[in-house]
């Protein structure tokens, strides 16, 4: 710099700057393709298997040669992704036109004005093409704010070899599940085997696990007034069952390891993959992993069923899954909508279902011959009919709240303390939790 300044008079330098601007302008013009509406910014979380989604995006670009989809890859950790996404939406970042959101977020995002309404784009027939539970989750005060991409639901995976050795079928009630586990464990006194593996660490998954056990005895976290309710006999009975029957039962300590109190999906799944658990509660995408012989010692000896019920209740799995939302601040909503239509079309959804072994949200793929060929469990007839579709149809949503994260944090703390130690004071914990939830007040609207 200094050399140049000394060596040259200032005039040519000024000219150089002018030339530079002209060149930069030309480059910018080329880069924009002469039309600034043809770049689409898609924010999604880092995929475990990135290729299927990448191929779906490429197919869109192939069909729209003038469009470049700019991939913004967020964290694979849901809380981190939430932070990245909400920061961008709050700041009206131009780097996000269309994005993935968790099924529990639309209520908050709609209240914050982050989401473009989709009512003008999706009619009644459009809504009916998807599982009803996620469509309800995306509908806030009668307005549709997102389109379901994939659906998650809590499922029961079980070891067919162990159950068949005792002549057992997939359990239809939780009592039956415990009885089967006890019988199998009694026949293998020194094996490194536990009955049940689920997710009971203090995190969002704990809410999912508790909610489906609660719903299986016809309980709910939402009261008749539409507000969240915690201090009910059903919630207390559910927590007591987890604590006394499942985790801290001195008479049958191997029904479930207390390790589950620190287990998320991966930790519980690892036990099952090693062959150390008879039953596993997991999401649909675990199917591919438990049947991958490179990673799983039990590949080919696993089946899935809807989670069991308690007497008088119905089988229930918690609803999860990913939705596609349009950023309200995006100037490219029409283009973004074309992209959403593409990702939720039958062909793309069918291909994603096959390649990711993931339950997709569009109903028609569950009758697609190619999907059923590759993923027989998506529709396999048996005692449960079509286990995945049946479970997804009956999926139980988590409470809807503008302050869902705050509500969930209070519930996680209370539920975990209730089941962590065998002598917890469940009524006192529930009273304290109910008071905290009530204090969240105005932001919590309830009704799912």
């Amino acid at each position: 710099m200094r050399l140049h300044r000394n060596a040259r008079p200032p005039r040519p330098r000024g000219a150089a700057v002018v030339v530079l601007f002209v060149v930069l302008g030309a480059i910018a013009a080329c880069g924009g393709g002469g039309d600034d509406g043809r770049e689409l910014h898609f924010l999604f979380w880092r995929q475990h298997q990135p290729e299927p989604l990448e191929r779906a995006i490429q197919a869109f670009e192939a069909a729209h040669p003038d469009v470049t989809v700019v991939r913004h890859i967020g964290s694979e950790n849901v809380s981190d992704y939430y932070r990245e996404l909400t920061t961008k939406l709050r700041n009206q970042d131009p780097d996000v036109d269309v994005f993935f959101m968790d099924v529990i977020w639309p209520a908050e995002f709609a209240a914050r004005g982050y989401l473009a309404p989709l009512d003008d784009r999706v009619g009644a027939a459009g809504r009916d093409a998807f599982f009803p539970a996620p469509i309800r989750a995306n509908t806030v005060d009668g307005t549709l704010y997102g389109l379901p991409f994939s659906i998650d639901v809590g499922l029961l995976y079980y070891r067919t070899d162990l159950l068949e050795a005792h002549g057992f079928q997939a359990p239809e009630t939780w009592d039956e599940l415990l009885a089967q586990a006890d019988a199998i464990l009694a026949a293998r006194p020194d094996a490194d085997l536990y009955g049940y593996a689920g997710q009971f660490d203090r995190y969002e998954g704990l809410i999912c696990n508790v909610l489906e056990l609660l719903a299986a005895r016809s309980g709910s976290l939402v009261g008749p007034d539409g507000r969240p309710q915690v201090d009910t006999p059903e919630v207390a009975a559910t927590l007591r069952w987890i604590r006394d029957e499942l985790i801290h039962n001195p008479a049958v300590p191997r029904r479930a390891s207390d390790y589950l109190l620190t287990a998320k999906e991966q930790e519980s799944r690892d036990m099952f993959l090693r062959g150390d658990a008879i039953f596993l509660r997991e999401w649909p995408e675990a199917w591919k992993i438990v049947n991958d012989s490179a990673r799983s010692a039990v590949a080919g000896r696993v089946a899935m069923a809807p989670l069991p019920a308690f007497p008088g209740g119905a089988p229930a799995g918690t609803l999860g899954g990913w939705q596609l939302g349009l950023a309200a601040h995006s100037p490219r909503q029409d283009l973004a909508w074309t992209f959403v239509e593409h990702l939720t079309s039958h062909d793309v959804q069918a291909r994603l279902a096959i390649e990711r072994a993931q339950a997709m949200a569009r109903l028609s793929i569950y009758d697609d011959a190619d999907v059923l060929d590759a993923m027989p469990h998506f529709g396999r007839p048996g005692p449960w009919g079509r286990p995945l579709e049946d479970a997804a149809m009956a999926a139980v949503p988590r409470p809807r709240s503008v302050r869902y994260n705050a509500l969930s944090e209070r519930l996680q703390r209370c539920f975990h303390e209730a089941i962590r130690l065998p002598d917890s004071d469940i009524p006192a914990l529930l009273r304290d939790c109910a008071a905290q939830v009530a204090e969240l007040g105005d932001g919590t609207t309830g009704a799912p």
Binding site: Y82, A111, D258, Y259, T262, E267, R403, G443
Partner: protein, 296 residues
């Protein structure tokens, strides 16, 4: 006669100090004042910002989660800092003695300190893992049925977080104290030996007083740092089993729940706690420091 001269000298002084003051004000004072102001509001980012006075602080006082986080924060500071100082002092003395491979030792010692805290946290999480953790293996061997889920028990989980912190930051304390030890002139010890002072006498009368400034600096740094503990809890326990700390709770309220008022109130509480401790150190310990130097 002297006045104009002094004024002429003061002008450049203001010009020289001014920018630093402005930068400090922009980087520190403005954000801190902003957080304090926000902490007096109800603000969920829903366009509902309103002034509520000290209601947030009142709510915190009545919140069992905040009280629990305060308790473990104080336990964490109260246990980890003395442990780190004690162990760090011992390590510094050993390294001071070791003449042969002191350079290599010092480099080795720096390894835990150089590892990012998040990585340290993951490492200790795996060590304490209740399913296939190495600590369980060392205690129970192949008897996996006996394995303990350390991180679900209140005091074992708290202990695990403290152990991880001690492992990581003791080297930092040791290096600070080692530098203090090495700054003590050898002649002082030689004079003491000539006077017939025993080893113990030398340690009590020479080493301890002269290394005190270094120890106090380490104490100040470690105490302030310990109040701000976050990563270890975030990774190792997510606040379960009585291991939530104020900074972790503040993160939950501010980032996860968009509760800007409450999150700011928690940040201000941590700030005030650290402020009280710092003022205490500067007033009492700092004064002792100056007196100690005067005597030396």
């Amino acid at each position: 006669m002297a006045r104009p001269g002094r004024r002429r000298r003061r002008a450049p002084a203001v010009a020289l100090v001014g920018p630093a003051v402005v930068v400090l004000a922009l980087l520190a004072v403005v954000p801190i004042a902003g957080a304090m102001w926000t902490s007096l509001h109800h603000d969920l980012g829903l366009g509902d910002r309103r002034f509520v006075g000290i209601d947030n602080y009142g709510a915190l006082a009545g919140d069992s989660a905040a009280r629990g986080a305060l308790v473990f924060t104080l336990i964490f500071v109260g246990v980890s800092v003395p442990l780190e100082l004690g162990l760090g002092f011992g390590m510094a003395l050993l390294m001071h003695r070791a003449l042969a491979a002191r350079g290599a030792l010092r480099a080795l010692l720096l390894v835990p300190w150089a590892i990012p805290t998040v990585v340290t946290s993951w490492m200790w999480l795996y060590i304490f893992d209740g399913d296939r953790g190495i600590l369980n293996y060392l205690i129970f061997g192949a008897n996996t049925q006996d394995y303990v889920t350390f991180l679900r028990h209140t005091w074992l989980a708290r202990g695990a977080v403290i152990v991880a912190d001690v492992w990581k930051t003791t080297p930092f304390v040791a290096l600070l104290i080692l530098a203090g030890l090495q700054s003590i002139p050898r002649e002082v010890y030689e004079a003491a030996r000539v006077d017939g002072a025993s080893r113990l006498r030398q340690f009590v009368s020479i080493t301890l007083p002269l290394v005190r400034p270094a120890v106090l600096v380490a104490l100040l740094f470690r105490t302030i740092d310990a109040f701000r503990v976050f990563d270890l809890v975030y990774v190792m326990t997510s606040g379960r089993a009585g291991t939530s700390v104020l900074q972790y709770l503040g993160y939950q309220r501010l980032i996860n729940e968009s509760d800007y008022g409450m999150g700011s109130a928690l940040a201000v509480v941590v700030f005030l706690l650290i402020g009280v401790v710092s003022v205490f150190y500067v007033r009492f310990v700092g004064a002792a420091l100056v007196r100690g130097e005067g005597r030396a």
